[in-house]
Amino acid sequence: MRGLAFDIAHFLAGGMVLVSFMLLYQDRVYALLNIFALHALVLALAVGWQAHTQEAPHLYITAAVALIFKAIVIPVVLRRIVQQLGIHRTLEVVGGVGRDMLAGTGLVALSILVMLPVTQGADPLAREDLAFALAVVLLGLLLMVNRHNAISLVIGFMSLENGLILAAAGARGMPLAVEISVAFSILIALIVIGVFLFRIRERFDSVDMQAMDAFREGRRK
């Protein structure tokens, strides 16, 4: 497993973490969507490489699903939604990018600290993949927590899900049915979210979560 195959797998999985960081760094909607497409592309490559090295053909399907739906369909649809809603202005960041990046680095350290000692004795590639996947999940959560805009909430959720797929691909033996059902659930989630975005927008004239919070506060009083 050592050698070039390991290096490439390591590089691609690490690339996912890097792209997650780029998601954190972005504060414009279109750039965010593009980077998300890149995220999915790297995921597809990583899963594809796993399929190649593990000689598990069903993983090719996962990779293809990731490539078609996440790298192409979802970004395009989201871009449409953004265009129709007219919310392509700068996103607000709670706190500031520097703090987010610092927190992100801490989360990566945390996920490595958690994963590596626990999985001692397992295949080194799987261990590293798991650590990176956890990092991607945590970064996705951070993105969801720290942004006001509903679009970045969606992106955070999707990148989190990418992390799950990465973990599943590394872990060997996730059945194909699960993969496909996850992929479809994501698609359905997209549709639901899209509908919701329109509804939210109709009702509150904004997709800024803070505005909605303010509304809720108001109702409670």
């Binding site: 050698g3 070039l4 390591h10 520097g98 610092l102 680095t105 490595i112 590596l116 261990r127 650590a131």
Partner: protein, 318 residues
């Protein structure tokens, strides 16, 4: 005799740095002009500018002190020495052990320290703006660069550049995320430190967002020539650094034949031409950012560097 030859090569390296620095600046300007559909000045224009400036008299502000007059020479020599210590066409030169990568980073710091002081010396508001912002940028860029040094030294087991270059050209480096992260961090630092777009615009004056040009506003004549030459040297230094660490191919080793040296030089020039082209392409395709976005940009570089070092500690532990 072999020792003499070694020293000769070292001398050639110093001379080469001095000669190439304006050429690189000219090349980047020319490519940028071409990309903008302008004809642009000749590649040799920076040499002409320098010679002209050298022959002109210096107009010193009334409130300038001795530090203002000494600083250009100090800055120039620190950057020249720094640039000459980076392996370019050959590794393992006789004085390569005099300073490692950390010392080169610190030499850059010395040059910057005196440049910022010179900006404050005359006591104008522009000078102050430049110095203050330059130091803000540096205080994030320098640690980001040192994190890259950490990653390299953990990989190669040394901070000496010649050995790093030799290690990086062997096969056991492999594809590593840490290296990609470090490269990214180093490029971001290089952009910021050399006052390139999107952090600063090297071609502008009279703009409130300028940093480097504001600091050197009061310089004229031979002092300005030295400052200009120094910033070209600094750019060349960063190019050589990226080349010698991340693309160490084709370098001659110490004590090889003159033919190998010539071959190394040709490869080195090709790397510079490619790097310059990429920089120009990047600069024409992106807009300048606000000054207070710069800290986010460099903070990201610092975090990438740190992440690279962290990941490396992990993959070593496996």
């Amino acid at each position: 005799m072999a020792l003499m030859a070694d020293y000769l090569v070292q001398g050639c390296q110093m001379a080469l740095m001095l000669l190439l620095a304006p050429l690189l600046t000219g090349w980047i300007r020319w490519v940028k002009a071409r990309l903008l559909r302008r004809r642009g000045p000749s590649i040799l224009q920076p040499y002409r500018d320098l010679l002209k400036l050298l022959r002109k008299e210096v107009v010193l502000a009334d409130s300038a002190s001795w530090l203002f007059r000494v600083a250009p020479y100090l800055i120039f020599s620190a950057l020249w020495v720094g640039a000459s210590l980076v392996p370019t066409f050959a590794s393992g030169l006789p004085f390569s052990w005099a300073a490692d990568l950390i010392a080169i980073v610190a030499l850059l710091g010395t040059a910057r320290f005196f440049l910022a002081l010179a900006g404050l010396d005359v006591g104008t508001s522009f000078g102050g703006i430049g110095s203050s912002r330059e130091m803000m940028i540096a205080s994030l860029a320098e640690p980001a660069m040192l994190m890259m040094v950490f990653t390299l030294s953990l990989l190669a087991g040394t901070t000496e550049l010649s050995s790093v270059a030799r290690f990086m050209s062997t096969a056991d480096v492999g594809l590593r995320v840490s290296l990609a992260l470090s490269l990214l961090a180093l490029i971001m630092v290089a952009i910021a430190e050399n006052a390139r777009i999107p952090v600063d615009n090297p071609a502008t004056h009279l703009e409130l967002t300028m940093v480097h040009e504001a600091m050197v506003l009061e310089y004229s004549g031979r002092h300005l020539a030295l400052i200009e030459l120094s910033s070209s040297l600094k750019l060349l230094l960063y190019f050589s650094l990226i080349g010698c660490i991340f693309a160490p191919w084709g370098m001659a080793t110490a004590g090889s034949t003159p033919g190998a040296y010539l071959y190394g030089t040709a490869i080195y020039m090709a790397k510079l031409a490619l790097g310059g082209f990429l920089l120009a392409l990047f600069e024409t395709s992106i807009a300048k950012m606000r000054v207070f976005r710069v800290d986010e940009f460099l903070g990201a570089a610092l975090m990438l560097g740190l992440l690279g070092a962290l990941l490396l500690f992990v993959s070593r532990g496996l």
